[in-house]
């Protein structure tokens, strides 16, 4: 065999080895999801029953349940949606439909991009200083929802802007030509067209709010709560907080409870994301082309 042919053989071997390496690493990364789900299911499934869903936390693992966390999370996500969706979507409307390109618009855009990268715990510090202490909202669901709203606003604004941008400008021009005002054009034509995209973004943002733990701990949601909040000023706990609490205890039984809690949390997220996929699918079917 000539040296040239030998070298070529070696180069082919290196190339094949590299491809195999990338493939195995990818398989490994993908299998993490499987391991995670398997572990959580094996540990938590036996605990997952009606009692678990309808009981309050307890010092005794057999009696403990997720009701307070589940109710708190529902309260939290509802209030967060009520605050963050209008502000986020209208901010996107301003930036896409109203703002003149210029320094102010650029400043806001850069600012939003940077906010999206701020660690969630920093939002927790902000919530603690402003909402809990300064505004005196104490450890209420409202304080939590306001903190979460600030956290997910960048996500909602960025996604809504993308959706609004995707609406063809010919549609706006037709409406303007008929004598509509900017708001009429936005309300009657642009927003309905952009709605599937906006909703997808909103759901993804709310999923994030459901899973976030650190900001809630910062505003003091980690307390023993054995009731369901009845108003926005009540104290609360949330699913991830309850999971954190159980995970941080040394006893194995509490870890199993945490697994059961994680299953509930992941199911809630799964339902939300399935909804987002469904909306995207439906939106792509009847869209102005």
């Amino acid at each position: 065999m000539t040296p040239q042919a030998q070298l070529l053989k070696k180069r082919h071997r290196i190339s094949a080895a590299f491809k195999l390496f990338c493939l195995s690493v990818t398989c490994l990364a993908v299998s993490i999801l499987g391991i995670l789900i398997l572990e959580v299911t094996l540990l938590g499934l036996p605990w997952l029953n009606a009692d678990f869903l309808t009981s309050f936390p307890s010092r005794f693992p057999e009696k403990a349940g997720i009701l307070a966390g589940l109710a708190g999370t529902l309260w939290l996500v509802t209030l967060t949606a009520a605050i963050a969706i209008p502000i986020g979507v209208l901010a996107a409307v301003y930036l896409e439909e109203y703002a003149k390109p210029g320094r102010v618009a650029t400043l806001i855009t850069i600012n939003i991009a940077n906010l999206a990268g701020v660690p969630s715990i920093v939002y927790g510090i902000l919530g603690l200083a402003i909402f809990v202490r300064f505004l005196g909202l104490e450890r209420s669901v409202l304080a939590g929802a306001m903190t979460m709203s600030l956290l997910i606003l960048p996500v909602i604004i960025i996604a809504s802007r993308e959706a609004i941008k995707a609406v063809p400008s010919s549609l706006r021009q037709v409406a303007f030509a008929l004598g509509a005002t900017r708001w009429q054009v936005t309300r009657d034509h642009v927003l309905p067209q952009a709605m599937p995209g906006i909703l997808t973004g909103v759901i993804l943002a709310l999923s994030r709010a459901i899973g976030e733990t650190a900001p809630l701990i910062m505003i003091g949601a980690l307390t023993y709560i054995a009731f369901v909040p009845e108003g926005p000023m009540d104290e609360f706990t949330a699913l991830p907080i309850q999971i954190y609490n159980w995970t941080s205890r040394p006893q194995e039984a509490f870890h199993e409870l945490a697994s059961a809690g994680i299953i509930v949390l992941l199911l809630v997220l799964l339902i939300m994301n399935a909804t987002a996929v469904w909306i995207r699918y439906r939106g792509s079917k009847n869209k102005f082309k």
Binding site: V25, L126, T213
Partner: protein, 288 residues
């Protein structure tokens, strides 16, 4: 009417700017108060962090070391694995494989951090302690690995974007010269997308610095000036959580440490994010 709405919408957009101002304001004021009592040099260069115990000491270096250990661990896991995944997706995988792998990575990216913290405690730590019995119950390695897993999908997806931005004409040119796929990838495509890959790495490090729940659960609460990943440590984020869990009255020095540490954390992530954005804007211009 139009004018009123315009101002209303502007106010909504302005909230984002107000948020930034509020973050900077809150952190600055309390940090300023903190520096009234603790000299900045003691804070930045001190080697003991015991603000909640006597004798009190406010040197942030142990927390910085803790965060650094986590970042190193996360980087060792996420950067090579993320890049290799991206290379596989962009250079080798067919459309069908991409359609399977990409959604799985998206799901991994969407799993709440608390779940990863649970995973660290109940899965990674026991394995580490079996492999290396001297490993402490709470240790930096386990948390670092799990933070690496958390940021892995982001690294893979951003690197994939960067690799796919390289025009196919370059790959054709290299293949036509008799190169193997490894040579095309490693010597043409990766170097051509280096700035995008670098930006992804910087963002990943920024995320690892700000990660809270996994490190709070798995890495411990011992401010420890060590580079041994098998020991218990405390990160900046974990310290912030620790203070907020306790009953620390507003206005006290311990309460202010929370903001001083938060200010350091915020500045570090902000600088890294700005760097990453600057790099990305530059590489997007190259091939357009």
């Amino acid at each position: 009417m139009e004018q009123v709405l315009r101002w209303l919408f502007f106010a909504c957009a302005a909230i984002s700017v107000l948020t930034t101002l509020a973050v900077v304001g809150v952190l600055s004021i309390e940090t300023f108060n903190f520096f009234q009592q603790v000299p900045a040099a003691d804070f930045l260069f001190g080697t003991r962090w015991t603000p909640l115990l006597e004798p009190k000491s406010y040197g942030i270096l142990p927390l910085l070391f803790g965060t650094t250990l986590i970042v190193i661990g996360a980087a060792i896991v996420a950067l090579p694995v993320g890049l290799a995944c991206a290379i596989y997706l962009s250079e080798y995988a067919g459309a069908r494989t991409r359609d399977v792998v990409k959604p799985i990575l998206e799901i991994l990216a969407g799993i709440p951090t608390i779940v990863y913290g649970f995973f660290a405690i109940t899965f990674v730590t026991p394995i580490l302690r079996t492999l290396i019995p001297s490993t402490e119950v709470f240790n930096a390695a386990s948390a670092g690995i799990v933070v690496g897993i958390m940021v892995l999908p982001m690294v893979a997806s951003l690197c994939d974007d960067a690799l796919r931005a390289v025009p196919n004409a370059l790959r054709d040119g290299a293949y036509s010269l008799g190169a193997t796929s490894f040579e095309v990838t490693a010597r043409i495509v990766v170097p051509a997308s280096l700035s995008g890959i670098f930006a992804a790495f910087v963002l990943a490090i920024s995320r690892a610095i700000g990660e809270t729940m996994a490190v709070t659960l798995a890495a411990g609460a011992t401010p420890n000036l060590t580079l041994n990943p098998l020991e218990s440590i405390q990160t900046m984020t974990a310290y912030i959580v620790q203070v907020s869990l306790g009953d620390t009255p507003a206005g006290t020095l311990s309460y202010q440490t929370l903001f001083a540490v938060g200010a350091v954390l915020f500045s570090m992530t902000l600088i890294l994010n700005l760097i990453a954005n600057a790099i990305m804007n530059r590489y997007r211009d190259v091939y357009e």
